[in-house]
């Protein structure tokens, strides 16, 4: 399912997931991708997670919010952004699947639920996927771009929709919510022993909260399960593309390769690999650059020649490592974004990156 240009990707897909490790310019790339689509007249929204403050300010999304904020600019389409509010999104999902107001109230007040919605690792991924699915289903957007939380495990994002159902599939859950059904009574006594023992270790209140949560959750499992399945189906469907964002640093490239392999194993479409922070290519070879450094050693240009040799060595190293990464994604479109000498925190620079992305093709 490879694409031959980023223009095609931004013009035709309806969901783009930007993934990769932290510190590689993922948020910037996600925002520029949405901007590129807006420039082509599409209605595009970008879901960001913990963007750098100045970038958030530039996009006008300095506060957490659940609704997209429209960004005005010289594009033909519509561009909007939001900064994901994980807890608020989770509360909304509970409201959506609930059977009564009372159920909502009790769940939102339950401490085990608050742990899940606020501190559990994976919740941020889960809610990013939820928000993506919700915006996609609303019909108000032609393209939803989502920035993913920094993580070492690519599958954290892919498995996020299963976060709750995995807890629900736990055999202990069934035991906990059926305290007095005849056949289960004996099994239940065994479970009771485990629960008592657990209470001694982690505290009785903690265990009580967990049991209360599972009991309150009754009647909502099917809704959550169906939703998880629909969302997973959306992630692997044709209109969805994954864009891996990387930088040529050795440590981040190793992680990027790991990500690509995982996407491949999960049969997901890594349509493009964007390598940010590439040094501009030189005409001279690395060897020639070293010669020039030696030739100009005692001339006024000695410093410049050292800069040239350093640049050539670093660029060659970058290319070599990027080449190794690309072996894991032979069909992906590769976009090299040159190193910028300032950080990206204004709409103008984002537009430059959007233009660069749009110019990229095989």
């Amino acid at each position: 399912m490879g694409v031959n240009s980023y223009r095609t990707l931004a013009a035709e897909r309806s969901v783009i997931v930007c993934c990769g490790t932290g510190g590689v310019g993922k948020t910037t790339t996600a925002a520029a991708t949405a901007m590129a689509a807006a420039a082509m007249g599409r209605r595009a929204v970008v879901v960001t997670i913990d963007p750098a403050k100045r970038l958030a300010d530039a996009l006008g999304i300095a506060a957490l919010s659940n609704d997209p904020t429209i960004i005005e600019g010289p594009w033909n389409g519509t561009l909007a952004a939001l900064m994901l509010d994980t807890k608020e999104t989770f509360d909304d999902v509970v409201r959506h699947h609930s059977t009564s107001d009372k159920q909502v109230e009790q769940i939102l007040a339950n401490r085990f639920y608050r742990n899940i919605s606020e501190t559990l690792s994976g919740t941020q991924d889960y809610m990013a996927v939820e928000k993506l699915a919700e915006l996609h289903a609303s019909g108000e957007w032609d393209l939803v771009v989502v920035d993913t939380p920094p993580t070492r495990d690519a599958l954290a994002f892919l498995e996020a929709p299963k976060l709750l159902t995995r807890l629900l599939d736990n055999p202990i859950y069934k035991l906990l919510i059926s305290p007095s059904q005849g056949l289960l009574r004996a099994v239940n006594r065994a479970a009771g022993a485990v629960v008592r023992q657990l209470s001694q270790v982690v505290g009785a209140e903690v265990v009580d909260d967990a049991i209360e949560f599972f009991q309150l959750f009754q009647g909502m499992e099917d809704g959550f399960r169906e939703r998880a399945e629909t969302t997973l189906a959306l992630l692997s469907a044709d209109p969805t593309a994954f864009v891996l964002v990387a930088s040529p640093r050795a440590d981040t490239l190793a992680e990027a390769k790991f990500f690509l392999d995982r996407l491949g194993q999960a049969d997901l479409d890594a349509a493009a690999v964007i390598v940010n922070r590439m040094l501009p290519a030189l005409t001279v070879s690395t060897a020639r650059a070293s010669e020039i450094r030696d030739e100009l050693l005692d001339t006024p240009s000695a410093g410049a020649a050292t800069a040239l040799a350093d640049h050539a060595a670093a660029a060659a190293g970058d290319e070599e490592r990027v080449g190794e990464l690309l072996e894991s994604a032979p069909d992906a479109l590769v976009v090299r974004v040159p190193l910028l000498t300032s950080d990206v925190h204004d709409v103008e620079t984002l537009q430059q990156i959007a233009d660069l992305l749009l110019a990229a093709n095989d």
């Binding site: 510190g23 807890l167 736990n170 270790v201 505290g203 800069a307």
Partner: protein, 297 residues
Amino acid sequence: MAGKGGVGKTTASATLALAAAQTGRSVLLVEVAGRSATAPMFGTEPQGYEETTVYDEADGGSVQIRSITPDAALVEWLSSHGFARIAKRMAKSGLLEIVATATPGIKDLLVLGRVKALESQSEADLIIVDAPASGHAIQFLQAPAGVKEAARTGVLNRQAVEVLEMLEDPSRCRAILVSIPEETPINELTETAFAVEDEVGLALGPVVINGILPPIDDLTANETELSPAEYHDLAMAAALRRSRLDLQATQLARLQQELPLAQIRLPQLFTTAIGPDELHVLAQAAVTSIEALEEWA
């Protein structure tokens, strides 16, 4: 050691470990993110979770590496607290996930608990922990206080109290933050520094600034004897170096102003990967940089 993703936190951890070993200390380098990322820097293959010696000097200095995973720490801890027979089964049945969800921070606390145990048992003079990336690092370090609050009595509470004692004692434990001389990473470094001190109560050591471009004072680019294409490259490389050096100077000055901590500066290496040779260069730079710091020399 903590820092934003992509700033070379792991490289900095390995560098300081080697630098300490070269001054005669025995160092234990602990990784908490699973696969060992530092083993290749010392020229060995990742060895699973066993303690592995990766550097050993005749006159006493050495580096050992080991990984502690949150799941393993939890299973191990449950095993030694009355769940010996069922800890593994709990992991399989998913009950462990419920325990971890019910007690947020328990895994992080137990990883730190393992570090504390290693501190009292092991023969290492220095333990360096390569912590999770920034946002997670604060969460990681706040875990003991959170668990102490949630579990007010019992073994878990005692564990939390003991770990807090270690974290809050500057003679035993310090946080070293890592960054690179660029705007966003420097902003995040400053934020993390205040959070570590104010919210966690952990004293800060010097900061490590990675990827310092060696300064070149004169970047004049004359055309002499070069072809037009070569001259073009020369001029471009010189101009780019100039603007990057300016950016770096601005950011380092800003950091000094906003966060008055000693700085250990490590040079940018223009190489493909960090192996043993590169690590030695970095460790040497670290030693030189530390010797120049009055307070820490």
